[in-house]
């Protein structure tokens, strides 16, 4: 249950039995394929989810950087992001465990949507907690969750964003733990969540590694993936961890700048791996954006999906070990990468994924590089248009067609 110093099960006693029950189920069903759980999950991921996703050589990026760039196309997964790998895995596991009800937190709404989708598919009751602020700024995803008939519970506390939604979901779980499973959306939380979510997302690197060997004839020089909570990151890295020749880059949201304003309790970035300090949050010891006194700060990123003060404990450990290199790109660079991919490759990437793409500008690679495109960016269009205009991003096309 731990990764070096990180991880653990820092949860209220009321949840410990559920956490232990889940750890047991994880071992039996996920690790040992009891009752054919893994086989069934793979079938769902193929038929419902659309796996495998392609590993695509990006012609324009390859030309730009003078070496082959391959995109792992998680944006083509049902729902438009890698999130479904995990949501489907956990909802199915909850069914194997006999749980009748699913709760989940969501920030930008991607995990909530994936969970609602998986619950509709597998016919399980679903309630999603979402901060009031997020509800009002992520309306399309709220519509999608409601369209899948999931209840969306508004959380009015605090700033009304992801942290508060997690707190509220933990409370719901603590109240209804006997018949309810909490589908955590990333490689965070108490054991077994970080390991379990990693395993559900590891299909990304399982496929990418096979595809690389088949298409490139060799392992890539590096794998690049964006890191918020880190589920896409760990999923992209998992099957390459033992390939020592493959460098692993976790690209964090640099936001405006890598600082913490102690006074206001705000970090204008979300780079927990690069700039966080050890702490304990949401069930695990990990790297956190926090004040000197240990209060968790409000993080920031132009990408709502990366905007989280914590990070998966295993990633924290891999960074300390030197196996994973944390890097970061700022909001402007991510926006520019968003436009570059849209214009040059015909793919509108999620703003999260745009961070990974943007890192290619800073990097100095020689060989083939795999970049995980964790999701599609339709959901981000309004934000990108607004922010590109506000910041006068040179790469942004004009939207003047409406003005006549």
């Amino acid at each position: 249950g731990t990764f070096g110093d990180y991880g653990g099960q820092y949860v209220p006693e009321a949840l410990m039995p559920a956490v232990e029950e889940l750890a047991d189920a994880y071992e039996r069903y996920v690790l040992e394929n009891e009752d054919g759980f893994v086989d069934e999950l793979r079938r769902h991921l193929r038929d419902f989810g659309g796996r495998p996703t392609p590993l695509q050589r990006a012609a324009a990026l390859s030309e730009r950087y003078g070496h082959d760039v391959y995109l792992k196309r998680e944006d083509l997964l049902h729902g438009g992001a890698h999130k479904l790998n995990n949501a489907l895995g956990q909802v199915l596991l909850a069914q194997y465990m006999g749980k009748e009800r699913i709760v989940a937190e969501t920030g930008a709404g991607q995990h909530g949507t994936a969970t609602a989708m998986a619950c509709a598919y597998l016919d399980v009751d679903c309630e999603i907690y979402m901060g009031r602020t997020d509800i009002n700024r992520q309306r399309p995803n709220v519509f999608r969750m409601r369209t899948h008939d999931a209840a969306v519970n508004a959380v009015d506390a605090g700033s009304g964003t992801l942290k508060e939604a997690i707190n509220a979901t933990l409370r719901d779980w603590a109240t209804n733990v006997e018949d309810t499973h909490y589908v955590i959306g990333s490689v965070v939380g108490p054991h077994p969540f970080p390991s379990m979510v990693r395993d559900f997302q590891a299909v990304i690197s399982e496929e990418a590694r096979e595809q690389a060997i088949e298409q490139i004839g060799d392992l890539p020089e590096a794998v690049v993936a964006c890191a918020g909570g880190g589920s896409n990151t760990m999923g992209s890295f998992a099957n390459f961890l033992e390939d020592e020749s493959v460098a692993l880059y976790a690209v964090e949201a640099g936001g405006d700048a890598i600082t913490v304003e102690e006074e206001t309790g705000v970090a204008p970035h979300s780079a927990s791996l690069s700039a966080g300090e050890d702490g304990v949050l949401h069930g695990a010891r990990t790297k956190l954006l926090q004040t000197e006194e240990g209060q968790v700060v409000e993080s920031h990123s132009v990408s709502a999906g990366l905007d989280y003060a914590g990070v998966g404990p295993e990633l924290a450990h891999l960074v300390d070990q030197g196996r994973v290199e944390p890097v970061h790109v700022d909001d402007d660079a991510a926006l520019t990468a968003f436009h570059r991919l849209s214009q040059d490759e015909g793919i509108i990437p999620a703003l999260e994924s745009s961070h990974a793409i943007a890192y290619l500008e800073d990097a100095d690679f020689d060989g083939p590089v795999v970049v995980t495109l964790s999701g599609r960016g339709d959901k981000d269009l309004d934000t990108v248009i607004e922010e590109s205009e506000r910041r006068d991003v040179a790469a942004a096309p004009s939207m003047g067609v409406f003005t006549e």
Binding site: Q9, P12, E13, A157, I166, D278, G283, E293, G294
Partner: protein, 279 residues
């Protein structure tokens, strides 16, 4: 600095010896440190045997909306771990003080080592700790530091806690065992859940006292809980609500404390001669 006969773990145990104990909770620094001092004194006047004083943390995952609001008020007003310890040191009451907070604050205080906080807390006059996001499994370093500085480390037993976990918890517990009355989070409620009695029944005759919390807000509830076998009651949200109102706070804290205490005491007199009465 306040002076008491006993310190730390022994002081808390002693507080449970004179009959059913009332353990009220307020958030330190809600709305400011001076007010908190006055409120703690009022609670003691009302009959508090131990005061549970919240050290506010930004992510209070085990607390309900009432206490969460108190925590935000305290944080907004500038409460910090250092100021908290100053506040405790300044308190002029002769009941034990138990710090309720989350693990990250203790962890950060010593830059990853919890001992410095425990040491400073002991020096400031704290007698025990309740850390709701710290199950026994993860409690090793903190328990060690508490033993070293003679502080009680109070663990929670929840309705979901299994038999073998109860055994382990009771084994590690010091001060008292906090019996969580129901699933969910803190927050005042009108009734006493069946789970409360079940939990109390499942607790073996440990040599630490038991106090029931989560939802306790009235003398009537306290009477039923003590009649059910508890050695005390913990009440929080009802007091934090009074603080939030800002109206005649000290008086109302004292009267409410007295009311709950009276209920507990009444049950104790009754139950000393008969079976636990259940409502």
């Amino acid at each position: 600095m306040r002076e008491t006969d006993a310190m730390g773990e022994r002081a808390i145990r002693a507080a449970f010896e004179g009959g059913p104990a009332l353990v009220p909770y307020v958030v330190a620094g809600d709305p400011d440190p001076e007010a908190t001092e006055a409120y703690v004194e009022a609670l003691v006047r009302g009959g508090a045997d131990v005061v549970e004083l919240g050290l506010p943390f930004s992510e209070p995952i085990a607390d309900g909306p009432t206490i969460e609001s108190g925590i935000r008020r305290a944080l907004d007003a500038g409460m910090t771990p250092s100021r908290y310890l100053d506040l405790v040191a300044d308190l002029d009451v002769d009941v034990p003080i138990v710090t309720m907070t989350y693990y990250n604050l203790l962890f950060r205080y010593g830059d990853g080592d919890v001992e410095p906080f425990v040491a400073d807390a002991a020096a400031a006059g704290v007698d025990g700790l309740i850390v709701p996001d710290l199950p026994v499994e993860e409690s090793g370093p903190l328990r060690e530091a508490c033993e070293q500085h003679d502080l009680a480390l109070v663990f929670i037993v929840a309705p979901t806690t299994t038999e073998d976990r109860i055994e382990r918890i009771v084994e590690q517990a010091s001060g008292f065992v906090y019996v969580q009355a129901r699933l969910g989070t803190t927050g005042a409620r009108a009734d006493v859940s069946e789970q409360t009695y079940e939990s109390l029944d499942r607790l073996p005759d440990a040599d630490v006292p038991t106090a029931v919390g989560f939802g306790v807000s009235s003398g009537e509830q306290a009477r039923a809980i003590v009649a059910g076998g508890a050695d005390g009651v913990v009440a929080g949200s009802v007091f934090v609500d009074i603080v939030a109102s800002g109206e005649n706070v000290a008086d109302r804290l004292e009267r409410t404390a007295a009311d709950i205490k009276a209920g507990a005491t009444e049950a104790s007199s009754a139950s000393s001669v008969s079976e636990p009465e259940r409502t």
